[in-house]
Symmetry: C2
Subunit: 451 residues, 2 copies
């Protein structure tokens, strides 16, 4: 057994771990990052990147059909899948190495386990962290205890994003973000998709109109949507047979379990420092684990918000905290900015109307059609879309915004700046959206509010 010393040891090289390590390295600290699987983590290979690669040709083909004069045909599925493979670098992580090395980060390819204060065991060796250990081991998909499901070789996000061909019939269990994105992607690439969701509406943390519009779009793509239903048993005998609690049964070639994720902390040695394995690692607003001055946790593993950009944000703050700066999470949890890449896309930041009311704020929401302006003649013409702002009437600032519509995700950041910057409505009135862009939805929203 040998011991090596670093100032910081980061366990896990997904998006959060990489950003934390890279930023610390750039600050001149000696950093080791420990990863037993792929550098880049779920996001790069099995989540955001491949799912967006699968969705983009579907989305763009739909948009091209809305623009008269553009000649567009059916999606070339093998080519689309080959592009997906390119986006995930054929599951080869070597492109991540130079980025880390340029920042003087030492890559340790091993499983990392806590082995007491400031100590991380990697195989037979121990890495000693003089300043801090950062846990960034992420999360893994949860396969719910439906009788027969685990034995039916269910897809998780990993298989759903990397499948080499479109299954003829795909059963999607769960109507959250993964469920709706994968349903749309594979329906667009030729699968007959059935989506079963226990709740009464899809993506139920978002505004009701977002749920409705995504449900409508999925139905238009041929997805067989079953809301308020749950599977009672699953079996695979060549094909998958799913029995539902409404008495019906569905046959499929693959079944995707998309009902949530669990923190990857079961075999991390948490018990060695008095924390509970298998649960989220709790952190305060500086990403520090309460009760420790040397332990941080960033990304999915702390359970605050499971979004790559928020994981990276946490990682930046944690790195700054470790470097001695005062930091505080100012965007967190359900109020974080978020985009769902269906068509219509859903982009949201801050409170939904219901959440704001529940939080006791005195708010008023106004809605306009996303495409209800000149720009809507050119982008997403005729496609569904709603733009809502939730205004705190006491402070005259926007505390939440939800935009739905074709390719609207790129337009979310304006709302994020307005919400986080607490830009007064009176200032927003002078921020003039360019004509004829669809961003004139801002003008329409403020007019609808009464400006």
């Amino acid at each position: 057994m040998s011991e090596r010393e670093f100032e910081v040891v980061v366990i896990g090289a997904g998006a959060a771990g990489e950003v934390a390590a890279g930023r610390l390295g750039q600050k001149g600290l000696s950093v080791a990052i420990v990863e037993e699987r792929l550098l880049g983590g779920e996001c790069s290979y099995y989540a955001c990147m491949p799912s967006k690669a699968l969705l983009r040709p579907v989305e763009l083909t739909a948009e091209a059909r809305r623009v008269r004069g553009v000649t567009v045909g059916e999606i070339d599925v093998p080519v689309a899948l080959a592009r997906r493979d390119e986006v995930i670098h054929e599951l080869d992580d070597s492109s991540h190495i130079p980025w880390l090395e340029e920042r003087n980060v030492t890559i340790v390819r091993a499983r990392g386990r806590l082995a007491g204060e400031r100590r991380v065991r990697v195989g037979d060796d121990v890495l000693v962290a003089r300043r801090a250990v950062v846990i960034a081991t992420g999360s893994h998909p949860f396969v719910p205890p439906v009788p027969g499901l685990a034995d039916a070789r269910p897809w998780t996000n990993q298989e759903a994003t990397t499948a080499k061909k479109a299954p003829q019939r795909l059963f999607v269990l769960g109507g959250g973000v993964v469920g709706v994105e994968m349903a749309q992607a594979w329906a667009g690439l030729g699968s007959q998709v059935t989506l079963v969701h226990r709740g009464k509406r899809l993506i139920e943390r978002e505004e009701p109109f977002a749920s409705e519009q995504v449900a409508g779009a999925l139905a238009d793509s041929g997805v067989d949507l079953r809301l308020g239903a749950s599977p009672t048993s699953v079996s695979r005998n060549g094909v998958v047979l799913v029995e539902l609690d409404d008495g019906s049964a569905v046959e499929a070639d693959e079944i995707l379990a998309a009902v949530g994720r669990r923190p990857t902390t079961g075999d991390l040695g948490l018990e060695e420092v008095g924390l509970e394995p298998g649960t989220h690692v709790p952190v305060d607003e500086s990403l520090r684990v309460p009760g420790f001055d040397w332990l941080y946790a960033v990304g999915d593993v702390n359970g605050r918000v499971l979004l790559t950009h928020m994981c990276k944000y946490q990682a930046r703050l944690a790195a700054d905290a470790i470097a001695g700066e005062q930091v505080r999470l100012r965007s967190d949890g359900l109020r974080s900015p978020r985009v769902i890449f269906t068509d219509p896309q859903v982009g949201a930041v801050g409170h939904t109307l219901a959440a704001a009311e529940q939080a006791g704020l005195r708010v008023r929401a106004v809605d306009v059609e996303t495409g209800g302006n000149a720009g809507g003649s050119f982008i997403g013409k005729g496609a569904p879309g709603t733009a809502r702002i939730v205004v705190d009437e006491e402070r005259c600032v926007i505390v939440g915004a939800t935009f739905t519509g074709a390719e609207i995700g790129e337009s979310l950041h304006a709302a994020t700046i307005a919400v986080i910057g607490e830009v007064p409505l009176g200032d927003l009135w002078h921020a003039v959206p360019a004509f004829p862009t669809r961003s004139e939805l801002w003008l329409r929203l403020l007019e609808a509010y009464g400006l």
Copy 2:
């Protein structure tokens, strides 16, 4: 001769006039709007709307070619032109009538001329404005005094946006916004385009990188670009022959004069109230004409900024001023938000670096590639694009931003909010762009700045 009284008379029903009249009507004031041509003005029929309609299939076809898996063919030009005709309502303005009528605006179809204080002559009648007259007569294209040009039946923006087919060879004189947009549109729709521009670079009020990238894109579209050149004579003998000051000559089927616009004030009766015909109507920051308590001018006619959204902004402020509110232009002139709809698009707000330095600000600019992030894998992949922010180092706020890139215009509004709202960099750092959208350019910019 009869006299009719209104609280406000608006002369000109382009974008500015319509918005002023509509907003005043909504406030309950009695308003007449006087227009001898089309309700909706240049923008609706001969500028923004048809040019964007022509550019959109070109832009979207280019984007579709960048997304593997999408099957896209050549543009169907007649269909694209038919869509353009639909966008301009076949030059029928009847769709504008209900919008005005719902706001209790009286439409007077006639030429309006000032006839003394608070008086507007329309044919044999006079409209008396108890509170205010708003001049919103806009601008018209300037045909420069090149020998032979006027006799060669040159296109202006009107013909360039409404032509019933692509000319085989189009000569574009002028490399400003109209010149580059029309060159790109018609090149994309099949014309062989030559663009001659007196200056050393195109769109020269924008950042140099924007000029270079648009020039590169035009060249890639087959446009024959001639910078630093001017025509010395033009003749039309069946075809158009243009002789240039570099000794060369160019043959074309049509010639577009796109070298600027002049205020439409020549026959407006300005002399009746002591103002000079044929020049801009000067206004102060409340859009009031200095020396008059009843006369306002909004839109192109006041010469402050020739952009539809800024004309509408001025119109809103003028309406509020007439209704008795205190108003002040907070976005104006060259610093106004602006989008050029080429591919790459150019979106900018506030100062360019050079303009900020010239204004005496202590600034630092940082640049990143627009597509240099995960989102760039999906939108505008491989296409040129630069994002620049100009930071006022004393106040730690962004005073200018220029983004170039495929379809980047919709992303400008985030910068507009940041600039107008004077959102501190420290707040922008917590406004987290969603992954994997291209709006992560904000993260890269702030990192490059040193956050």
